[in-house]
């Protein structure tokens, strides 16, 4: 149960923090009515999507579901892990919620409010909630559906939502102290390991001691990421050779 709830919680935490940053920026610049209207509409659309497509998952044969979701998890997890490695190696800038918040506040203030319904503010909050929410739904399905643990994965994601939304509204500020880069690295490792496991399982791989192999895969991806950071730092620091 924890094996599905924990990755869903950690990955959803990152997505909720990103959505909250934008919703807070809308609330403080355009008013809380625009922010809550856009958020409520986004949540309603996500609920409709889950109700419409969720039951279909039960009809897909398990092997195919494992292989397809495993492949998607590998793409998703390795993408996050690659980015985290590049950030740790100092090749790309660290993700900074405070800077993103300031930038978003600036652009929302520049777009002057017109009389009537605030389409810009509500639309911005709606976009953020739908886009980040779709990622949360994908994570829950990917982590939960293949293991028959959709409920623990959903509870993990819901807990992340409660934590982030509660903290955000208590502070009325973006959660800049959440170690988003470290979280992305941890989740990248977990999702890559789950993805490799499910993809192999779906294609008939006989994993050593079944689920225990997941721990081996997690350790393997941690080592690969650490090696990646060391090699990338060296490659980045080496001066470029200029032809004579």
């Amino acid at each position: 149960m924890l094996a599905a709830a924990l990755p869903a919680f950690l990955a959803s935490l990152v997505e909720f923090v990103e959505a909250l940053t934008i919703v807070l920026a809308v609330g403080t610049t355009r008013g809380w009515r625009s922010a809550t209207t856009g958020t409520a509409a986004g949540v309603a659309l996500l609920a409709i999507l889950v109700l419409a497509f969720g039951p279909m998952l039960g009809r897909v044969p398990l092997g195919i579901l494992q292989a397809v979701v495993g492949a998607m998890l590998v793409f998703f997890g390795l993408r996050w892990l690659r980015k985290a490695v590049l950030r740790y190696a100092g090749i790309i800038a660290l993700h900074d919620e405070a800077t993103i918040y300031e930038r978003r506040v600036g652009s929302l203030r520049a777009d002057a409010a017109r009389p009537g319904f605030d389409w810009v503010g509500s639309g911005t909050a709606f976009n953020a909630v739908v886009l980040e929410g779709l990622e949360v739904i994908f994570i829950v399905i990917a982590v939960g559906a293949t293991a028959g643990a959709l409920i623990p994965a959903s509870l993990g994601a819901a807990a992340a939502g409660v934590v982030v939304v509660g903290a955000g509204f208590a502070l009325r500020a973006p959660l800049a102290r959440v170690p988003e880069n470290s979280l992305k690295a941890i989740v990248g490792v977990m999702l890559s390991a789950f993805g490799t496991f499910w993809f192999g399982e779906g294609l008939g791989v006989a994993w050593w001691r079944d689920d225990v192999s997941l721990l081996v895969l997690v350790a393997g991806y941690v080592l690969a990421a650490a090696l990646g950071v060391a090699l990338a730092r060296r490659a980045h620091a080496r001066p470029r050779r200029i032809p004579a």
């Binding site: 292989a67 492949a71 998607m72 590998v74 793409f75 998703f76 390795l78 993408r79 892990l81 690659r82 980015k83 490695v85 590049l86 190696a89 090749i91 790309i92 976009n127 739908v130 886009l131 779709l134 990622e135 994908f138 890559s192 490799t196 496991f197 993809f199 192999g200 294609l203 008939g204 791989v205 006989a206 994993w207 050593w208 192999s213 895969l217 393997g220 991806y221 690969a224 990421a225 090696l227 990646g228 950071v229 090699l231 990338a232 730092r233 490659a235 980045h236 080496r238 470029r240």
Partner: protein, 71 residues
Amino acid sequence: MQLLRTIVLEIAGLFIEDRWFALATALVLGAFALAATTHVIEPHIGGYALFAWLAAVLIGGVLYAARSERG
């Protein structure tokens, strides 16, 4: 329409950021699927071979990005 386009791009962006990295990942997954379905690969070691290839793609992708970003 603009929202739909944004959503489609955002969903694709969930999986693809660097096209060469995504292509290398797809090639490894495709080759493994072919090997597994044609029983070319031993089921007991196949999973670890898959991991080794994916780890190599990760490290290769990171090194490629590091060299590309070098000033």
